[in-house]
Amino acid sequence: MKLYVYCLAAKIDALAAPVIGISGAAVDLVDVEDFSLLVSEFDGDSAPAVTRENVLAHDAVVRSVLNESTPLPFRFGTVQTEPQLRSYITTHKKALEAKLDAVRGCVEMSVKIISNNTDLDTTAEPAEQGPGVTFLKEKQRELLGSERRVQEAKQVAAWLEEQVGSFARQEEISLCPTEKLIVAAAHLIVREQVTKYRDRLASARNLRPELHFLVSGPWPPYTFSNIELEFKTRFGVS
């Protein structure tokens, strides 16, 4: 029998209420070292299918302990045998303790920013240009546009840092992660500071009407949970 693993937390005596997980399975606690893991029995050989129900169930189980503790969520699809799971926890005990200490008392807030700035050079070129010149001009516009976008993303990220960076115990910023997003930020915020963080962000948004903000949270600290694997740290591969 394999276990589907949802999250790891500091030792929990019992779940406050029965929790239903992936495929309607009951969620149990497994204690390993000084941790409690939320797991459910899983019959399949591979990870469960990505469905709306399964994804929401995974998140709901992680959130079920969020009021009493700050868990480290596992990524969707983590299926292990109990001996494998115990071996992993025992092997990485120190790193996991350090991660739990880092996120204790915090939640994650997510800010994604879209720029409405379409400041691209769309000046029409004279019709008599040959195809080669037209091609090179187009490439030049693409490169200049891309560079401007990166510069804008850096400026917006720095501005966001000025506005709410002081609230974040940790942050993770991605610049231009997609064609539309110019900044994607995850902030680890002490729970008692969430309201102030939101208020500050709301004020800041009013200062930048040219930007579109997508703010969500509080989340369990998904972005801040992973530990560097020893072989990655040593050999630089993942």
């Binding site: 990870a47 709306r52 990524r75 992993y88 997609t178 579109h212 949970s225 072989f231």
Partner: protein
Amino acid sequence: MSSPFDQVLIQSDVEQLEQADLSLLETLDHVLNRGLVIAGEITIAVADIDLIFLGLNVLLSSVETANEVLRKRE
């Protein structure tokens, strides 16, 4: 790394996405692309087609995944 949230944003006008869609996309982004990873290989399937591959420490998800989940929501 590409996330379902990012991929759908490329294809859709954010103004047209409902708040519930955004919430679901954010949940997908967090649950599928982030979190503690145990070294190993995991293949996640949607409708019996392998769409997500986890090679050691890297999980890639696809726009099909996000679209599939969004379709099932309807």
